[in-house]
Symmetry: D2
Subunit: 350 residues, 4 copies
């Protein structure tokens, strides 16, 4: 009976690389066959090369795997990537050129014209951009990206609103978890009892990615959504889960009931095709006046569900609400994995 | 050798009451002569009645003072109040009726038509409302209030902007310290590794108080400032210091330099009259791209200075910035104390 | 196809009561049929009466259950109790008198001569004390207790050492999680960035319970283990998981290998009879020089495994090591549940 | 009108280097004249080279100072050092050889036979070891060290006990602040909601330094105190302040009153000679049953006082208590500064 598809992980020792390994354990379609990381780790056993920072143990099958050099030779066709942007900018094209399907969490190529930035529930048709990629034409390789962790939860919450009510303006203020900064990432002396009102390049990414994700595919590119958008990004002393205070202006009139219905009834291709990593409910609405909260709500839907709450009128725009999303699952490794599953059912991994 | 003015504290055992005691230690004009708290504390030594939660020790002169009943008999003329709103609603009028000057941090009467809500640097003329109070006419007593801790830092940052550029729209998202909730206040199980996107009645207070503070005195009342305002309030795991992500729209064009100059050069009657608790600089602007931060910046100006930073254009409104203010000093006890000093130099405490 | 045994929970709305409900969801032998809490909650739906503080949602079957009065009338025969000690002291005998099997986490009766204090892996024979209880003789009812959360992890780590090497001296310093104090429990202003070197009555409980648990059943009572023991208990800013720095002196010579073997090979009746809540491995030894750590290791064995690490020689006694145990699972609700399972297989719940 | 003594700081940009600068601002005897750090910082303005992590601002006189190369040329005679041990091992002898008085917080030379490890209140006579140093004989230069931050608070608490009651055994378990690990030091992902039961080489340092500090000067060396000592060191989520749970055995009988008197009445040469950085009270005893606590007590005596509390009998040794000490002031920069002041009054800096 059919074997699983072997996959490789670029940047396997980092916080997101670890999440890939965790989420791929017992995956019905994929299995980890190859790991690469920085030169320092090359040739070492994974369990020794990585400083494992997750609550579940390293899967046994991966613990003793040797870390390979980060080159296409010998790597499986399907590659998950979790590299720093500067390294990804060079490495991902190299793997695509060599014929690999690069499904990446890195920001390096997200805004490239012919690179799809995809959330399966939101804009699955954008994957067609793959066919415009020169790599695809030459070797069959391609690159597909998912969004920044701060944009992810927001876009899942906005997609049903855009569809039902039209979006004119979006204002977002984030309170982001430290795991979003990788490891060692944020120093404890910087965050204990503190808020840091700055994350390098985060506001720019959040603004432009949100508009590309909610934009329209138009031949060889995407026309960004036309609503106005402004983001302010803060770091707080939370381990996992980005909380966001959002205000929006709609094109059409709405009421709390139809808005929460729009969220609750929202489903996408990920749910219709029952992708293994798809959450049953992509957007959950909580009624309680003090939720969502990262400590209690972030793991809902195995970290793949965005939770929304605190819907109330805004005296400047139309509506205010709070969004919560798991930044290293739905906002990183889980997002790439769901993209891989979409690519699989669409025949791109054959 | 002029004697100091004896003052009393209503609600002396709480977090804000403790700050009053701390700030009044060695005050050049006032000295604590009377303490009252709930029935439970009555008759006990202050050091035993209060669960002291500050880093400096209880002043010796106060430690052994007996907690008095919370009634006007025997209380000094000048009363600082730090009571829960529901108790304040009844207690403050009773003291004012009995001829006391009630300088209060409570929200109970802040929005009452004839009760001044005052920040000495911002709207010192509003104290004239005192003369409209029925208590004043009968017994000489009156009530003066300061704002909620979340409005305080914001209004100090907005006042120079309003003056120079005119305000059309203000959007605020707060990340508030736990000390704002009093003691025991927020349970540790609720806030460790967490964000709580809700503080009861805080958004309403922040919106309406900001507009009253920046409004115009008009005979027996205040015409609220006409700009649009929306607030979202969150609690974070910070001990002291409310951080706020702000967006504003001006009536006039501005540039980063003139905006930061407006902040830096801002002075008010508190500075001109050299009130003892006035900070040299009411609004400080920091250039560093990741400041202000509560852990490092909240105690500037002995907790009386508002710090602003991260000024940058906003794609929806005009400008974005971050505000930081000490919530139990400038946002509570220090605010009331500065109001008392203003009242003193204006002759209201004679 | 035998039906499940209906069980009731006394103190169902508290932190430990919630854990009972969570652990009993889908339990193969027991099902929650009755909930009681303080008068304030009586008659309300559970989901409204409880301030649910766990990451998994309230089980649907329990959410809409009405909270019953805390009296034996109408309560199931098997009762799990999670009451404050002062209330338990009166309530637990009342239920036992009425014929109920009271399996309690409360400290009230733990040290009573005829009340078993039991850990199934350590001293399962102590449950025979039930037969000495006057309630048992009259109505069939009885009380069985589990230990304090700080003693639990320690005793599981000590039991194999006692058996193999004999214990002469035990010194323990704890760093305990805030969930051990219930809800609201520790105020955030008390624990953020802090250590509290005091937990009321904890050191006494830890010392005397450890000696009773490791003591010998002797007719109608237990002869406490004779080793010397001293405990110091501290509270730290951790959500779940008590970490303990331990030093011990043995009667016999040992080596690191035989000690870690003693831990690793340790099994008890809970494992032999495959009780549903028994962890596969009651005591896990970790080799890494910086483990165990609560954030990463506390949930091992679904929170029922004690993890030990950092074994090294002690210059005063013989050996030093670190113990970690989940305080509200293994140290509270899970402990009582495992005791219930032991009672079931021993025929006490028939 | 004598000029101040110019001093230099080696390792000026680190956490301890910053404390030196902070503590030397407005010092009556010393003034910062020279700063050195790693090559990366050389030639840059201090305010740009250092990532300042203290709550008070960088002193203006230092902010614009250029960072010098870390070589003796051009450095002042008196050098404070805060270098990593591996660098200090090479650098400190080089400065001493060149005739400098090196007053260091580094561990590199603490246990060297002819290098004094000194606390002015405890063993001021040990500075005579300077005369045994080959550097001293050749160039006049010398090295004086202070202890590790975990040993410092303990030794101040033990010294009066040793004097009055004799020490036979000391057991210590620490809960140490993150600032002790420098910057960036401990990653936030490692410490939020966590305890780390390991600090590299800390237990060894704590044990051997405690015994050298409380030992006897004997010609060209120190005979370590003969009591038995065992330490276990943990890291907790606290910014500043090491808390320690201590058990001791005395040679003589004692009672709580005489013990607390021994602490409270303890004074040393630092107090007698009124050294500028000496706390009025080197050891403070607090009666409250839940103190000392780092958040509230660590800054007592401007961070130079050790606070002791929770004195109670120990069932294994004689007495248990809790010690709190500021790890970057009394346990690092403040310790070196006090040593410099002692050297000054003893004529070693002339």
């Amino acid at each position: 009976m059919s074997a699983k598809i072997p996959v490789g992980i670029l940047g396997a020792t980092g916080v997101v690389g670890q999440r890939f390994i965790q989420l791929l354990e017992n995956h019905p379609w994929f299995e980890v066959a190859w790991l690469a990381a920085s030169d320092r780790s090359e040739g070492r056993e994974y369990a020794k090369a990585a400083r494992w920072r997750l609550k579940t143990p390293i899967p046994q099958s991966v613990a003793n795997m040797r870390v390979s050099p980060a080159t296409p030779d010998g790597a499986p066709k399907v590659i998950f990537a979790a590299l720093d942007a500067s390294i990804a900018a060079e490495m991902e094209p190299r793997f695509a050129t060599a014929g690999h399907a690069v499904i990446t969490n890195s920001s390096a190529l997200r805004m490239a014209k012919d690179v799809p930035l995809v959330i399966p529930e939101v804009n699955p048709d954008h994957i067609k951009l793959i066919e415009c990629q020169p790599w695809r034409k030459k070797s069959g390789g391609f690159v597909v990206t998912n969004s920044n962790c701060s944009a992810m939860g927001l876009v899942l919450a906005l997609a049903p609103l855009q569809k039902h009510f039209g979006l004119e303006t979006v204002m977002a203020v984030t309170m982001q978890a430290v795991s979003g900064a990788g490891y060692p990432g944020v120093a404890s002396l910087d965050i204990l009892g503190n808020v840091i009102p700055y994350i390098a390049k985060e506001e720019e990414k959040m603004e432009e990615e949100t508009q590309k994700l909610l934009g329209k595919l138009n031949g060889a590119g995407v026309i960004p959504a036309h609503f106005k958008m402004s983001a302010q990004c803060n770091r707080v002393a939370v381990e996992d889960g980005h909380t966001e205070s959002i205000s929006v202006k709609f094109s059409k009139k709405a009421s709390p009931n139809v808005i929460s219905d729009a969220w609750t009834s929202f489903r996408g291709v990920a749910q219709q095709k029952q992708l293994p990593s798809a959450p049953e409910i992509p957007v959950r609405y909580m009624d309680a006046n003090d939720r969502p909260q990262p400590r209690f709500d972030v793991e809902f839907g195995r970290g793949m569900t965005t939770t929304v709450g605190r819907l109330r009128p805004c005296k400047v725009l139309d509506w205010k609400f709070t969004v919560l999303s798991h930044n290293t699952i739905r906002g990183a490794a889980g997002a790439a994995l769901l993209n891989a599953e979409l690519l699989k059912v669409e025949g791109y991994l054959d």
